[in-house]
């Protein structure tokens, strides 16, 4: 996946870029409207992450230009202006998603992957991890080719874990992914604990291995070892 990151804050751009590279994604970062415009016209990208407040221009205009010039590119707005009208306008201008700052890196990855599935695989992609097969389009999970019945949030939780496989995920990042801002932290951590417990049980009952590791003090990690 080739990503164009348009972000004027250098430290933020550096972190996102390093993270993307760690994840095996190709990422080019630019810090201004003009540079971004040049890149858009010169190269094709699979994904573009667009910050709205750029020093020399309005990110929303870039979204428009991107959509016009390269309709296949998936566009995610990343903005510190968590304004609902910006969100609505962004989506109207052709952005696919809106992520308000601050966000967690695993959340960014989940959004990128979801968008990739939607845009490039027309939603038909299957995610495989060892004996697990996830079919996001149908909200289905198979273990050893046998269907596993999960509740909605359990499914979303598993998908989030699988997409971010191998990484330590803080409870906060997972809770925010599942419930957004609607819940108090104390509540959401309790619910998360219960959901993880149920998920583990269901996976084991279906004959799957428990890949969910508890990282004491912080959260969980989904990995083989």
């Amino acid at each position: 996946m080739k990503i164009l990151l348009i972000e004027d804050d250098p430290s933020l751009a550096a972190i996102i870029r390093r993270y993307a590279l760690d994840e095996g994604l190709r990422c080019e970062a630019v810090g201004s409207y003009q540079e971004a415009e040049e890149k858009i016209f010169l190269y094709p990208y699979d994904m573009a992450l667009v910050d709205l407040g750029l020093p020399d221009g309005e990110g929303l205009e870039l979204v428009k230009a991107l959509r016009r010039h390269s309709p296949e590119t998936g566009i995610i707005i990343i903005s510190a202006r968590n304004a609902v009208d910006d969100r609505i306008k962004g989506l109207e201008y052709g952005a696919d998603d809106y992520l308000s700052k601050p966000f967690h890196l695993p959340e960014l990855k989940a959004r990128l992957r979801a968008l990739e599935r939607r845009r490039q695989h027309k939603g038909e992609e299957q995610l495989r991890f060892e004996e697990f097969t996830l079919i996001p389009e149908k909200h289905e999970v198979h273990i050893h080719n046998k269907s596993l019945a999960l509740r909605n949030k359990e499914y979303e939780l598993l998908l989030f874990l699988v997409v971010n496989e191998g990484r330590v995920l803080s409870k906060m990042a997972i809770a925010e992914h599942l419930w957004g801002d609607y819940m108090d932290e104390a509540d959401s951590f309790d619910f998360l604990y219960n959901h993880i417990k149920n998920l583990r049980k269901k996976i084991q009952e279906a004959g799957g291995k428990d890949y969910i590791q508890t990282i004491y003090g912080l959260g969980y990690k989904f990995s083989q070892a």
């Binding site: 933020l12 967690h104 419930w179 108090d184 509540d187 003090g217 912080l218």
Partner: protein, 421 residues
Amino acid sequence: MKLIQATTRSYFLYAFIAFAIGGLLSFWMVKNALYEEVDEKLYEHLQEVKKALDAGETIPEAWPRKLERQLTLSTADTSLLQWKDSLIFHPGEKEFQPFRQLKSIHSVNGKSHQIVLHASLIEAEDLAEAMGSALALLFVLLLAGLLLINRSLLRKLWTPFFQTLEKLGDFRLVQNKKLALPASSIAEFQQLKAVLEDFSAQAQHDFEAVKAFTENASHEIQTPLAAALLELDLLAQKEGLSEEQLNHIQHTNLSLRRLSRLNEGLLLLAKIENRQFELGEQVALKDVLTASVGRFEELAEAKGKGIEKHFSPASKTITGSSILLEILFDNLLKNALRHSPEGCIISISLNESSFRICNPGQPFQKGTQHLFERFNKENHASDSLGLGLAICQEICKAQQLQLQYEYREGQHCFFVEIDSV
């Protein structure tokens, strides 16, 4: 009081006083002149009678007009000249009429005669009556004229003023449209136009500056916060971190997140106060509320709480902002779920005239006078930011609604009356 009423009232008052004083004065003057004439006539007459008596002529008891003279012998010895107003019965008119009377005593050859002369004052009364009605007619004519002129003047001269008022009433900073007032040939209105246009331009400029500032401030604060959180994400991936170290990361995470939420909350408040939301949408309350409840049903279920909905079938539509109403309902629901005991029922009702959300709970220890203030929390250790209710209240204010609170039958209730909108 309207401008037209105020000016009319002053005109009326002045005309009334002027007419009252003028009427009384002229009446008094005319009356004086009349009396003078009548008195002179009577006195001349008296002199004639005296002359006749002195000459020893006999004076017939009844002169052509009997009422006008009486001559009697008197025993009094003093000379007398007495003026008097009196009412005498007029047999012809069959009524009492005002008369002027002159009484005098005259002695001729040691014999005293009392002379009483009368003159009718009926003309004076008639005159006064005629004058009164003439004045009253004049008063009415003048007043009607004043009113008509005043009204047409107001309509013509003050037109630019009323147009200006209307434009000012419609003026909204949020819309960022220049205030354009009607031109006028009258210097004062031209001045008013210049001053107001100047003022509004300045206000607009300041408003834009504040708006830009709050947005920039939010951006400037949120960006480093985002960077710090991402750094922590990366740090957490390092191999061999102890549980204690991970705990530190987690706590830093939570604090940063909290800071970012505070920033968002304060920014939202500033934006509502600056009226940066479009408030002219037609919003169906039931739809927005139903969506809100939907977002919290899972949370309620997980906490073992029920949400009871009493929505009347007709959907009330108000003019406001759907975004703000969504935030309002979300915040109130979040609040109710946060501050209610486990296993309870939260009831929400919406009908034509009000919205109400109630949850059981202990009454507030600190009283409720600061309930809607920022950072006012019942329990300082709690998770909440202390901005939720302040935001709710600002949202209601922005839409001319009033958020109220009451504690009734063990229930905390927040309600909004909506019939007036």
